[in-house]
């Protein structure tokens, strides 16, 4: 195995090691300085390796599937993993002052770091796994770390949010597990590629697929399973909110995409893909409308996540089922994946910026942003740039993503989805202007001063989400590596 071939396993080993050390000793600064450059280097190595040599597959312990567990990384997994690396890097840097344990170990200062590094490891484990049961363990790992982070503030409201999340998450994981059990009972393997090769018209496979979908949809907070998300994401400390909203739903969505586009594409009937599309559309509209009505900054951003996750599910009617073989499917599929990446970058930036605003103002009512353009111009600019992506305005990554989905919707004659995408953009503009417009008001002076460097860190994420739109040709090509139905369309 070459050194490049080692990158995937070390992308799991390094954050786990950091998490172990973080349990023992409260020295986050040393861990961040040690782990982050390594993770960046490993991510570059993984992306280069996939770019040059195509999808990677690694049999852990030397045991091939079906006996052992195989890791796999194509363009999609590598892209999600790289996004995770970028977002997590910025988050841990922003989190250092708040959880730095500078005056001796505190409860939150200790607990945050093992949880953050374990979450990082769990995300990478999900993106790299090629085995249904291993994905179950990795997703549980992720869920339990997330639960602990949601409850970290220790207030009644945040603990209640964690319990509500737990109810959905526990139900979701049992449904997923039961689906996996039925698939194993029918086919005697848990490996994604081996399952893809098996013929699956039997009742156990179909019921299993339905259960897996329901379980993952609950974990991704797809409408109508969304009720847990806003209190959980808004109640956590800002760096945790950023991880939760930007990255965690993407993990279960990623597994759902793997399942329906790699393992069982033939089972995606027209009724099923339309149903998922309707739920996605409902999420876009309902999430946006509720976001407009929120009076608290972090709640508004959290409801925006409900809406933005809805777009991801339009990939099913636009690129799944009967659309899979059509020329527009590549555009729709890539658009949805770019939406996931662009949203991760923009939402990470927005929650981190919101955290700084709350810290400066001392509260999280919407009025906290009054006069931001004068008092914290860098943060105001961060809000503006990430809003551009969330609204889908050019030249952002969100624009390219929604443009690709829009053109596919028109090409396939599914005008309803096009209307939903356009309406969603308008509604996003409506709720985001509630944040952006008051930044130009005159207001009382902020209570705390936030340094320029801490403000600039979220800005880099927002700027990356714009860059994703400007340089979208390479990401588009990269996402196609290892995609089952090779790209037939491209960027116009």
């Amino acid at each position: 195995m070459t050194t490049l071939g080692l990158a995937p396993v070390f992308l799991i080993i390094v954050p786990l090691t950091a998490a172990f050390l973080a349990v023992v000793a409260p020295w986050p600064r040393v861990l961040v300085i040690g782990a982050v450059p390594l993770m960046l280097a490993l991510t570059v190595a993984l992306v280069m390796s996939v770019w040059r040599d195509g999808p990677i597959s690694i049999a852990i312990g030397g045991w091939q599937a079906p006996l052992g567990i195989e890791l796999a990384a194509g363009g999609l997994a590598a892209s999600f993993l790289a996004t995770t690396t970028v977002v997590m890097t910025i988050i841990v840097l922003v989190a250092l002052p708040a959880f730095g344990n500078r005056h001796g170990e505190t409860r939150t200062g200790w607990a945050f770091w093992p949880l953050a590094f374990m979450m990082w490891a769990a995300l990478n484990a999900v993106f790299l796994s090629g085995d249904l049961f291993n994905i179950y363990v990795a997703i549980e790992f992720l869920t339990l770390a997330t639960l602990a982070l949601v409850a970290l503030e220790g207030k009644a409201g945040t603990i209640e949010a964690a319990m509500r999340y737990a109810i959905f998450a526990l139900f979701g994981s049992l449904a997923y597990l039961l689906g996996v059990v039925l698939l194993y009972a029918a086919h005697g393997t848990l490996d994604l590629d081996l399952l893809a090769a098996a013929t699956k018209g039997d009742s156990a496979s179909l019921v299993g697929a339905a259960l897996i979908t329901a379980g993952l949809a609950a974990k991704t907070a797809l409408f109508p399973f969304h009720a847990w998300l806003p209190p959980a994401h808004a109640g956590a400390p800002a760096p945790a909110s950023a991880m939760l909203s930007a990255l965690v739903p993407k993990a279960s969505f990623f597994v759902l995409v793997q399942f329906w586009f790699v393992v069982m594409p033939e089972a995606a009937g027209p009724l099923f893909v339309q149903l998922i599309g309707v739920l996605g559309a409902a999420a876009i509209l309902y999430g946006s409308l509720l976001a407009i009505r929120q009076t608290r900054l972090k709640r508004l951003i959290a409801y925006s996540t409900v809406a933005q996750i809805g777009y991801l599910f339009l990939v099913f009617p636009l690129a799944g089922g009967d659309s899979a073989a059509q020329p527009w499917s590549a555009g729709a599929w890539t658009g949805a994946m770019l939406q996931a990446i662009a949203h991760a970058l923009a939402k990470g930036a927005m929650f981190l910026a919101a955290g700084l605003v709350v810290e400066a103002a001392g509260h999280d009512r919407l009025s906290a942003v009054h006069g931001l353009a004068r008092t914290m111009p860098i943060t105001a600019f961060t809000f503006a740039l990430s809003s551009v992506t969330l609204m889908g305005l050019p030249p952002s990554g969100g624009f390219v993503a929604k443009y690709l989905m829009l053109t596919s919707a028109f090409a396939s004659g599914q005008i309803v989805w096009a209307l939903v995408i356009l309406t969603g953009g308008l509604l996003a503009a409506a709720y985001l202007f509630r944040v952006l417009a008051p930044t130009f008001l005159r207001s009382a002076k902020a209570r705390a001063d936030i340094g320029a460097v801490r403000q600039a860190l979220p800005l880099t994420l927002a700027a990356t989400s714009i860059l994703l739109g400007l340089l979208s040709a390479q990401p588009f090509e990269f996402l196609q590596i290892g995609r089952p139905q090779a790209a037939t369309g491209g960027l116009q």
């Binding site: 049961f133 179950y136 363990v137 549980e140 869920t143 339990l144 639960l147 602990a148 409850a151 220790g154 207030k155 009644a156 603990i159 209640e160 964690a162 319990m163 509500r164 737990a166 109810i167 526990l170 139900f171 994981s173 049992l174 597990l177 039961l178 059990v181 194993y184 009972a185 009720a227 806003p230 209190p231 509720l290 009505r293 929120q294 009076t295 608290r296 709640r299 508004l300």
Partner: protein, 110 residues
């Protein structure tokens, strides 16, 4: 799977346990009762898993489901432990062991 072999009996028993657990999960509001229901569903899934792995008595039970069930039991215990701690802490703060049923944030946010 049909017939009266040990594996078939316990596979369908697992399906029944899943149903019982789901009912408890939906009807009960007390978090500890919900955790019991969660564990009943979980053990139903495991029983079904193990029983489908025992379809050929002369081969013995498939060791892969056995190992995965042990892993699953530990994961379920871990989840239970965290939710128990959340519930106890919540009760310390609010004197409640149930979630409020209204969703205040859907009415315009507080």
């Amino acid at each position: 799977m049909t017939g009266l072999e040990t594996s078939t009996i316990f596979a369908y028993c697992g399906a029944a346990l899943i149903g019982i657990g789901i009912y408890g999960f939906l009807v009960r509001r007390h978090m500890i009762r919900r955790l019991i229901a969660f564990n009943v569903i979980g053990s139903g899934v495991f029983l079904l898993f193990g029983a489908t792995g025992a379809r050929q008595p002369d081969l013995g039970v498939d060791p892969v489901p056995q190992a995965l069930i042990i892993t699953g039991l530990v994961v379920a215990l871990a989840a239970t432990a965290l939710v128990v701690a959340l519930t106890v802490r919540y009760a310390h703060l609010t004197k409640r062991a149930t979630l409020r049923e209204d969703l205040p944030d859907e009415q315009g946010g507080s």
